[in-house]
Amino acid sequence: MIKVEGLTRKYGTFTAVDDISFVCQPGQVTGFLGPNGAGKTTTMRILVGLTAPSSGRATIGGHLYSEIPNPGRHVGVLLEAGAQHGGRTGREILTLGAMSMGLPRSRVDEMLELVSLNKDEADRRFRNYSLGMKQRLGIAHALLGDPSVLILDEPANGLDPAGIRWMRGLLKSYADRGGTVLLSSHLLNEVELIADELILIGRGRIVAQGDKASLLSNTEHKSTFVTAEDNDQLIHALKAKGYDVSTAGTGLRVEVAPIEVGRAAAENRIVLSDLRSADGGLEELFLSLTEDVQRDEVPAQAATTEGASA
């Protein structure tokens, strides 16, 4: 539904978005993940026509955003939850949106109920809202026109764990009904919980994309966290095999894949209470891909687009 092709945005000599291409399909939540300043917001702003691209194209269902009549009825947008007049009440902010789009006022109450803002909160002025309430109101505003596409920039920002779970449910059911969702975050855990597809972006370039499993399959596990009933016995067994062992918290860190540690434990009949990879998680991958990306040099292995078509 969303198609971004060779999109570039330069500010003077700085390239905020550097030749990126991706698609978002209906029925899926696509997570746009990258550190602050990676180009996520710029890409989303270009998508909705607030920023002009230097080159390339971003379309929604084949249209430039600016060509969509009454775009709020087709595309729900939340770019910055805080960008509202502090003197308006939450209800008034939604009312202005509903008026613009030509929606009945009853829609405002429906949306307030959907995002669990009660009457008292809805009639409070925006400047007195907590960050979480602002996010809920922003999501209500994005959903006002019953759009089939959602573009949300950092929607989970400021939500508490219960709020994040609520949003996951909301977006999941929205996608299950055939909606298309593109959301961004700089926090891996949020996106990991909510998104089906992941696009990792660093310094304006896409460094990896695909579903979680296909992204992880590209990484090798080379170290392990392990805790045994008798750690000393395990150290002895591991050192006998020539592995590097150090203590880490209540357990051990071993510079070898988890399966080798398991094997060593099994061979010596040692009971393990915890065994997991110390690297190669999505977090590790995210950090390694986004921290040291050279702007013109993408690690060939990471830059795979496999899974993007899923």
Binding site: V48, H63, N70, A83, E92, L96, M101, R125, V149, V298
Partner: protein, 262 residues
């Protein structure tokens, strides 16, 4: 260099053929509503009405016999409005940029020209209301407290002149707001520039001889006094309006169309 080599998969298209554009009257209605749905906006509107009423009351009490005429009451009404209406025009634009609600405004209506057109329409409508309020208080005061001959020389053309004065005030503000996109800067310059300009014109002989053609305050004075304007004075009003209202408006429109909405 590897990501772009793979062709992108197809995506389904969005059928928008049955969706009508945002209606212009709705857009204008929303712009009008935005002027009073915040506490600051509400009090600005209320203070315009209140101060207009107050100054008429003061004039009734303070004027000497024979001075309580409709043109004088009208001049009293016009004085505070001349100060406050440009602020209303300025805030119509700049409060969106200051509070960043333009992010929402321009995502709901991507055509920035249409948004500005709706703001201009809203401003013109507010100008009409302001003129009605100003005339209403002045007329009421004249009927209740006017001296004999208070209506002498007042014709229907007075309505047009009052309307024009009010519209010029609010549109001047709107143009300043558009070009500066910042409330404080626009309000200060809106007051300061004409004063500075008048001072410069009064001491600089070369500019002084053209003052009527380029100084909006100067050119507006006969209009505010409900005098009969000569054709030269009408032309002076036109050229100074071109310089102070139309030119900044066009420059502001270009700026807003090209600006990256942050």
């Amino acid at each position: 260099m590897t990501t772009t080599a793979v062709p992108l998969p197809d995506v389904p298209s969005l059928d928008v053929t049955s969706t009508p554009r945002l209606s212009f009257s709705r857009l204008t209605g929303v712009e009008l509503r935005k002027t009073w749905d915040t506490r600051a906006g509400f009090w600005l509107l209320l203070s315009i009405v209140g101060v207009t009423l107050l100054i008429n009351v003061i004039f009734v009490l303070a004027a000497h016999d024979g001075e309580r005429t409709f043109p004088n009451f009208m001049a009293a009404s016009g004085a505070p409005q001349g100060i406050l209406l440009p602020v209303l025009g300025i805030l119509l634009v700049t409060s969106e940029w200051g509070q960043r609600t333009n992010l929402t405004t321009f995502t709901l209506e991507p055509s920035r020209g249409r948004v500005v057109a709706a703001k201009v329409t809203a401003a013109v409508m507010l100008g009409v209301v302001a003129a009605i309020v100003a005339m209403g208080f002045a007329a009421l005061a004249t009927v209740a407290f006017g001296d004999s001959g208070a209506w002498d020389g007042v014709g229907l053309d007075a309505v047009g002149k009052i309307l024009l004065t009010e519209e010029l005030g609010i549109l001047l503000g709107l143009a300043f707001g558009l070009i500066l996109l910042n409330s404080a800067a626009a309000i200060v310059l809106n007051y300061l520039l004409p004063i500075v300009f008048s001072i410069v014109a009064s001491v600089w002989h070369w500019l002084n001889q053209y003052q009527g053609w380029v100084d909006l305050n100067y050119a507006q004075t006969p209009l505010q006094n409900l005098d009969d304007l000569s054709s030269k004075e009408w032309w002076q009003l036109a050229t100074s309006t071109l310089i102070w209202v139309v030119a900044p408006f066009i420059a502001g429109l270009i700026r807003v169309s090209k600006a990256e909405v942050k």
